[in-house]
């Protein structure tokens, strides 16, 4: 008996991970943290030294107006919205240095039939576009002005009745809502008369060299061979440019097919037809690019955004989402019997949390294979396009209140861009609710990534029957997650300490949107290009066997649609109708 037990023990593979101090400069997880924080620090130095002039005084003036208007009427008045818009216009990224950074790091622009338009536009072409867009702008401007007059009239009538007449109040609110919609149209039309000449080719070449050298520093320590990496980096960057180019094509924008899908697709086409050249293979550093991007994404996970729309938003995003995530994962394991736990987790996170960004974070946290991430993103893309079109049609067709519809779409459509388009298509209020719910869900990826990393280190990777000690968890834990969480905590604290207005101006519309986000976008694009270039169709086909990933996605999304709709209705129309009526 004792002999048998001893024999059995010797058959068990004791899986022990290890760590050492040299990991700090030899492992990509740590390099992702160092490089990510270098970018965040540079961004913070630039933007905090270029604050918009008299920012605080301007906020105080507009806030005084909003306080007065909030006390004056039972609905948001024209003056309330104008004060809000005036505050929104104060952005650190609009400073001269912010504009210079944006211009220098610009990705290929929009185009319709000629791809060259994405890279070069002459003064004559810009003038021609501006001239062509002018009549539409003038029309939109006149319509917005007329709508504002009508809104002010309706508001005055409600005021003359002392705001005691419910009918007049409702009419005033509806009139203001119409004005907001036309004002948004005017704003879009205005952008189309502001075309300027550009030539992106020199800046893209500088970016290619800059990014290549940036990652080569890490590669020098991780792998010792930065030269071979640099040789192949040009191809990865070229695929990234091609994917941004395709994502900017007019029809593709209408379908909501972004750079992530294109980078994978173009990479796949090259690797599965011509074949990825051997000299480029060293540059396919998927994990290094993705982890650096994720550390930067951590700074965008601002926990104070969770309270943006009050308790109803927290319930819709933070109760339904974890329930759907866990249920779908268990369903995938127990019922569908997914052959890969990591694929199950990536699809569950992708579908329940927030699409591609959650898929990336989950895949990195549970060390999923690149083919699994590709599959999850592909599924998300297809369903996002369908839901972006179908859901607004259902909401309009059934006469569902737009705020409920907005919350429903915000909690279920994967990609934020598609949520914003579908929400804005319904109404300004639907957009606000949909986009805010999605944003709260976006913030959830910090918790999701951390939870998945812990679960994998303690449960999935541990050998059955083997006790997992704290140090063992530390050895197995993906360290870049610590960088991701640290960035999130630091920027959340900074945002809170500045207050919502200055936080919005300096952090959201400064360091993040004006700087780190641009780098993060490029790094994710590089990682997707590398995934495509390193993936074989045959390997991908194997994961789709039996259609299990599709079944998992459809079942999980169906549950998500039902639970989100129920929770949104309960929160916005049963428990907190007062908040809803004043949104």
């Amino acid at each position: 008996m004792a002999e048998n037990a001893a024999k059995q023990n010797s058959d068990v593979v004791v899986d022990k991970a290890s760590s050492s101090w040299s990991d700090l400069w030899k492992k990509e997880d740590y390099w992702a943290i160092w490089l990510g924080f270098l970018i965040l620090t540079v961004g913070a130095i630039i933007f905090f030294n270029n604050k918009p002039a008299d920012m605080e005084a301007k906020f105080a003036k507009q806030n005084a107006i909003m306080t007065e208007e909030a006390a004056r009427a039972p609905f948001k008045t024209v003056a309330w919205y104008e004060a809000q818009t005036a505050k929104e216009k104060i952005k650190a990224k609009n400073s001269p240095v912010g504009k210079a950074i944006k211009g220098f790091m610009a990705k290929p622009k929009k185009w319709t039939t000629n791809p060259l338009d994405a890279f070069i536009q002459t003064q004559a072409q810009a003038d021609l576009k501006n001239e062509a867009a002018m009549p539409k702008y003038n029309k939109a401007k006149a319509a917005a002005a007329a709508a504002k007059t009508a809104a002010l009239d309706a508001q005055l009538k409600a005021e003359q009745a002392g705001f005691k007449d419910a009918g007049l109040n409702t009419a005033a609110s509806a009139s203001i809502e119409s004005w907001l919609k036309l004002r948004a149209k005017e704003s879009s039309a205005k952008k189309k008369i502001k075309n300027k000449p550009y030539n992106l080719i020199p800046s893209l070449l500088v970016l290619m060299i800059g990014f290549g050298l940036f990652f080569a520093i890490g590669m020098r320590f991780i792998d010792g061979d930065a030269k071979t990496f640099l040789k192949g980096f040009g191809l990865v960057f070229a695929v990234a440019i091609a994917s941004y180019l395709m994502a900017g094509q007019a029809t593709m924008k209408q379908y909501g097919i972004g750079y992530a899908a294109w980078a994978i697709a173009i990479g796949l086409v090259i690797s599965n037809t011509i074949g990825t050249p051997n000299w480029a293979k060293k540059a396919l550093q998927v994990e290094f690019f993705i982890k650096t991007g994720l550390v930067l994404l951590g700074a965008e996970v601002l926990f104070n955004k969770v309270v943006a729309i009050g308790i109803p938003g927290i319930f819709v995003a933070w109760v339904v989402t974890p329930v759907v995530l866990i249920t779908t994962f268990i369903f995938g394991q127990k019922v569908i019997k997914m052959p890969s736990k990591t694929l199950n987790m990536v699809i569950s996170a992708d579908m329940s949390v927030c699409g591609t960004s959650a898929a990336i974070a989950a895949a990195a946290a549970c060390k999923a294979k690149k083919e699994e991430l590709t599959l999850a993103i592909g599924l998300s893309l297809v369903f996002t396009s369908i839901m972006m079109i179908v859901m607004p049609a259902i909401i309009k067709g059934t006469g569902m209140p737009f705020i409920l519809g907005g919350a429903w779409m915000g909690g279920t459509i994967d990609a934020t861009g598609a949520v914003a388009a579908a929400g804005a298509f319904l109404s300004e209020k639907a957009l606000y609710v949909a986009a805010t719910i999605k944003m709260i869900q976006n913030v959830l990826i910090g918790v999701t990534a951390f939870g998945i990393a812990i679960f994998w280190a303690t449960k999935v990777e541990a050998v059955e029957g083997q006790k997992v000690h704290a140090m063992e968890i530390w050895h197995r834990f993906p360290k870049f997650v610590l960088g991701f969480l640290t960035a999130s905590v630091i920027f959340s604290i900074a945002y809170s300490s500045l207050g919502s207005d200055a936080g919005f101006t300096m952090i959201d519309q400064g360091v993040l949107r004006g700087f780190s986000r641009i780098f993060r976008g490029w790094f994710f694009c590089l990682s997707f290009a590398a995934i495509g270039l390193a993936t074989n169709f045959r390997e991908l086909k194997h994961y789709f066997k039996g259609g299990k990933p599709l079944i998992l996605y459809v079942c999980g999304q169906s549950l998500n649609l039902c639970l989100t709709l129920i929770m949104a209705y309960l929160m916005f129309y049963v428990v907190f109708p007062d908040i809803t009526s004043k949104i």
Binding site: S357, F504, D508
Partner: protein
């Protein structure tokens, strides 16, 4: 794939590119034109210039405004006199 001759690989690359071209410039617009609900949304996307393909909230400009507006709505929630 690398076992195949260069000419075959180039032909398959060009063939795949042609398929993508046809999807982007022929099938894609055709599907939009033949589906009224899609046409309406597609026109709206062009007009509003929303970044539909982006996936995180900081990538979409309009979400920043929605968030700020929602926050202001909570901080300066209208509470003026209303119907009794």
């Amino acid at each position: 794939m690398e076992n195949k001759s260069l000419s075959i690989r180039i032909v398959s690359f060009l063939a795949t590119c042609s398929i993508i071209w046809a999807m982007v410039f022929v099938a894609g617009p055709m599907l939009i034109d033949t589906t009224p609900a899609f046409r309406t949304l597609a026109d709206f996307v062009v007009e509003s210039d929303i970044e539909t393909g982006e996936f995180y909230y900081t990538d979409v400009e309009i979400v920043g405004h929605a968030d700020h507006n929602a926050r202001s709505s909570m901080e300066y929630l209208p509470h003026g006199p209303g119907p009794e």
